[in-house]
């Protein structure tokens, strides 16, 4: 592809025409037809944040109940539902949809420098199906049908004999909904990253956040099927009398644990890696320097992606597995510490050699460093089989995974929100309120969860709805409950800050942080076509590295929604693709799919009969229609060559 001499652009940046071509419908029905990635990404974020707040309310109820010994505020039946829904909400309805889907869908196409995500209708469908899954779980809770067997729902407790009624079935189908959503988004993101990067953004120049989203997409693709398989097996055991987990008939309850944790451990990296990606994005911006060790970090991320699938048995050390395999999984678990350590060292080196600006997002990044470090190191302790025998299933583990997940996802999430909300709303968040939020949350968090390490060592098992006073756990639990109040106060400050900034924050401008990646090269908020001009890229931080006369792309049509497709390795332009426009069908399909799935809880025929409307809506979705066919280039066989 030859780059021409400087020319005067004829009409390549006709913003009016671009706006008309890419415009998303408005109004009530327009809301259901919108397929632009910024809209869907924001919806993922807002919805998952609402679920986060709901899950937080449940957490507050847990802390209320545990604040005193022999407390009878909440009975065991309700308590079991509360902690199960708390865990399931935070993992399935908040952490993954926020960190993977929300941030991914919003920022990835912008950082790639393209005009929409690949398969925007699939992306929209993934959002609706996720909302239905979340509603299913929560409506269940209000109908006393809240799942009550823990967020990993071990059989046989969650099975047909020990959980009568439909509680586990609601949980199992919620899993199906959310995993279908994550898988759909994984396909969209992987395709966008591999095929829609700006020309010149070779794999070597690809920003770390894109690398991590790519690795994540593949982790989702290989991990999520495991939980769909296992929750389907559970559902079939409960509804059509299969015998997968019935030891009396050749079934095996440990099969459930193996399959669940084959998903479950990659899952925690699916939650943590987006956080690390945000940190790797923010550190260079606020240390005012290219990140040190781009290759090392990318290698670490890829290594984490592989190793994450080799450690699942460390959740099962107490089941009495043989010494040899236990040692193997200890070794694998310790090995996965290394890539994370490498990332930490690279972040330190970047700051060490940079010029640190302690702006608000960076404060949260430092919170991440502190909190996640503790969580990671207590993970080293848990990797040891004998130590795990003592602290497994106690509050020590509860403390550990809250340090890892809140440290690895929530702190980076707030860093990311303070960083990208100006891009999303066009207005800056208030600095002072942000700091108040940070310190309240940081202090409260450590008060609540550091305490739990001691509770665990002192023998408090997790998932108890109360405890006898003779155990002397009351004081520490009270301290933990007080910490929860601080966290709640911090969240209220954040919400106030958000709405205030949305209404009257200072205008952000396109690039308030003087950052280097492409999402800052367009207005805040970005228009529906994302970029007026499509950039080419000359370095890892395009806005820092690009030459003043860096070429821009011309020849992508603006009268139809067309994007440029480049190849995976070196981002050479290959062809142009017309993007599907707004459509109601993804929403309708999500409704018919939901009917089939929910029906299947009550009757196995639900899947069979329910499939008929699904097929109809799918054909409606995929049937070609719309504007008259644009004149096309002749089709070429095989790989297109220059």
């Amino acid at each position: 592809m030859a780059i021409s001499e400087p020319i005067v652009l004829p009409h390549a940046t006709d913003e009016v025409r671009l706006a008309r071509t890419w415009a998303q419908p408005r109004g009530f029905w327009g809301w259901f037809m919108n397929v632009h990635h910024t809209a869907i990404g924001v919806r993922f974020m807002v919805t998952s944040f609402i679920f986060f707040l709901l899950g937080g309310v449940l957490a507050a109820m847990i802390r209320l109940q545990l604040s005193r010994p022999e407390n009878h505020a909440i009975g065991p039946d309700l308590y079991n539902q509360i902690f199960t829904i708390h865990g399931s909400t935070m993992i399935f309805l908040f952490a993954v949809p926020m960190m993977f889907q929300g941030f991914g869908v919003y920022v990835v196409p912008l950082i790639c420098g393209t005009r929409n995500i690949a398969f925007p209708r699939l992306n929209a469908f993934s959002y609706y199906i996720y909302v239905v899954g979340g509603l299913l779980l929560w409506v269940g809770l209000f109908l006393k049908t809240g799942a009550d067997a823990g967020w990993f729902a071990y059989t046989p407790l969650s099975g047909p004999q020990f959980t009568p009624g439909k509680r586990s079935d609601f949980w199992a189908q919620m899993i199906t909904f959310t995993e279908v959503s994550a898988l759909g988004v994984a396909i969209c993101l992987a395709t966008t990253i591999l095929r829609q990067r700006a020309p010149g953004m070779t794999l070597n120049r690809m920003p770390i956040i894109l690398w991590e989203k790519l690795v994540l997409s593949f982790m989702v693709i290989f991990a999520m099927p495991a939980v769909m398989v296992v929750s389907s097996m559970l559902l079939m055991d409960r509804t059509i009398n299969t015998q997968f987990f019935n030891p009396a008939n050749g079934g095996d309850v440990l099969l459930y644990q193996h399959l669940f944790w084959f998903f479950g451990h990659p899952e925690v990296y699916i939650i943590f890696l987006p956080g690390a990606a945000i940190v790797s994005t923010l550190v260079p911006v606020f240390a005012r320097r290219h990140i040190f060790g781009h290759l090392a970090i990318v290698t670490s991320v890829v290594a984490t992606g592989f190793l994450g699938f080799g450690v699942w048995v460390h959740h099962m050390f107490a089941t009495g597995i043989p010494q040899m395999s236990a040692s193997f999984f200890t070794a694998a678990t310790l090995m996965i510490v290394l890539p994370t350590a490498v990332q930490f060292y690279c972040w330190i080196a970047t700051i060490w050699n940079g010029r640190l600006q302690m702006k608000l997002p960076m404060l949260w990044v430092f919170g991440f460093f502190f909190v996640f470090l503790i969580g990671g190191l207590s993970g080293v302790m848990l990797a040891s089989v004998p130590v795990d025998w003592q602290v497994h299933d106690t509050f020590f583990v509860v403390a550990h995974f809250h340090y890892v997940l809140i440290g690895g996802a929530l702190f980076p999430m707030f860093a990311g929100l303070y960083y990208w909300v100006p891009k999303i709303t066009g207005r800056m968040m208030n600095d002072l309120l942000g700091k108040v939020h940070f310190w309240l949350f940081f202090i409260g968090f450590n008060m609540t969860f550091f305490t739990m390490h001691f509770l665990g060592l002192r023998g408090m098992p997790r998932r108890v709805y109360t405890y006898p006073p003779e155990m002397h756990w009351g004081g520490l639990n009270m301290l933990a409950s007080v910490g929860a109040l601080f966290m709640a106060a911090g969240l209220i400050v954040f919400i106030v800050n958000f709405f205030q900034s949305k209404a009257r924050g200072t205008l952000a401008g396109p690039n308030p942080w003087a950052a280097g990646s492409l999402e800052w090269a367009t207005s805040s908020p970005p228009p529906d076509y994302n970029f007026t001009e499509l950039f080419t890229v000359n370095g890892r931080e395009p806005l820092w590295d690009n030459a003043p006369n860096q070429p821009i792309v011309s020849g992508v049509r603006d009268d139809i929604p067309e994007v440029l497709i480049t190849n995976s390795l070196d981002s050479e332009p290959q062809h142009k693709d017309e993007m599907p426009g707004a459509s109601i069908w993804p929403f309708l399909t999500s409704i018919t799919v939901s009917i089939a799935f929910i029906w299947s809880i009550f009757s196995p025929w639900g899947i069979a009969y329910g499939a008929i409307p699904v097929v109809i809506t799918l054909i409606g979705w995929l049937w070609p229609r719309g504007h008259s066919p644009a004149p096309r280039q002749p089709a070429l066989e095989g790989r297109w060559s220059k």
Binding site: P76, L157, F292, G293, L373, L377, P386, Q390, L457, G459
Partner: protein
């Protein structure tokens, strides 16, 4: 008043943080001691790692912190990159070596803990039920088999084999002062060793979520010297004595003609159901309801009348007996030494 007492109350609360026998850092036998040793070794390793990392962050931030609002990014810094390469390389090497050290010690300790053997040990079969522990000292002769619940007597200083099984869902057997936990899994039976070196009572709890009353599923390990243990065992083998006084006789009548008999065994009477705990020597136990209540007359009566208030969802039915019947029943049960 509050002001005067609050320092004292604070001190009491603080002191309470470090009380309690159910503690994995208060080992009472070789297994838990080994694990405690390993715990502290790894703890100090990660503590040092934590301090070093935080110091590195602090140093890096302090060194390069700048208040300037607008700053151009550093585009080229070969000197810094070269130094950082060395520093990061060294740090990675140290990390790898440390991880190997942790792995080595962990595996060695694991072997030590699992490699215990002994000839002709006391063998105890533990079966987890929702929400209590059935304890059987198996013997080829049926009349030499001790069956009890929730309280595990063992001889001090001798290795004991625990055989595990579950009657319903997954439970986990955990007495932190004695050993780490071991899951009781339906369809699987496994065996492991425990040993206690000081006489005493060591509490334990179920550690795997098992349903409504997971919170109230305790047990205790009572380590006593050989002679006391054998005396206890002989006493447990006897059938229940016939009650002598009239009230206790009436109590037995109540037991045998009410709901009790549907679930419980008292050897030496017609009651032989194995649904609930064996009550033949109920009065010899310290606690009832899986370590939920002390085994006193009042607590026993309260438990019989309304167990669902104390452990909502447990499998025992409420027994709103007439006061006379209740007193007689409790009197009888208290005779079951």
């Amino acid at each position: 008043m509050i002001a005067a007492s609050s320092p004292m109350r604070a001190a009491a609360v603080l002191a309470s943080f470090f009380q309690g026998e159910h503690n994995s850092l208060h080992p009472a036998g070789p297994f838990s001691s080994n694990i405690e040793w390993l715990y502290w070794v790894i703890f100090w390793i990660v503590f040092v790692a934590f301090v070093l990392t935080i110091l590195a962050f602090a140093r890096a931030s302090a060194k390069t912190y700048s208040r300037a609002e607008e700053m151009l990014p550093i585009m080229k810094d070969e000197e810094g990159d070269r130094k950082a390469k060395w520093a990061v390389g060294t740090a990675i090497t140290v990390t790898v070596l440390t991880l190997f050290a942790v792995l080595f010690m962990s595996v060695i300790t694991g072997k030590k803990v699992e490699g215990m053997t002994s000839s002709n040990p006391v063998t105890i079969q533990i079966t987890g039920h929702q929400w209590w522990w059935e304890v059987i000292y198996p013997n080829p002769q049926a009349d030499q088999t001790v069956i009890t619940a929730n309280e595990i007597h063992i001889p001090v200083g001798k290795p004991v084999v625990i055989l595990t099984s579950s009657a319903d869902v997954i439970h986990s057997f955990w007495a932190p002062s004695v050993h780490g936990k071991r899951d009781l899994i339906p369809g699987y039976s496994s065996a492991f060793w425990i040993q206690v070196d000081q006489p005493g009572t060591y509490p334990g709890r179920c550690a795997e979520f098992c349903g409504l009353q997971h919170a109230h599923m305790g047990f205790s390990i009572i380590a006593e010297d050989e002679a006391t243990f054998e005396a206890w065992e002989q006493q447990q083998l006897k059938p229940a004595p016939d009650p002598t006084d009239a009230e206790a006789q009436h109590g037995r009548e109540v037991f045998l003609t009410h709901t009790c008999v549907m679930c419980h065994t008292i050897r030496g009477t017609d009651a032989g159901s194995r649904v609930g705990p064996d009550l033949t020597h109920l009065a010899s136990r310290n606690m009832i309801a899986a370590e939920t209540l002390p085994n006193t007359t009042g607590a026993l009566a309260g438990w019989i009348v309304d167990p669902q208030r104390i452990k909502p969802g447990n499998k025992m039915t409420p027994n709103p007996l007439a006061p006379d019947d209740l007193n007689a029943l409790v009197t009888y049960l208290r005779t079951l030494q």
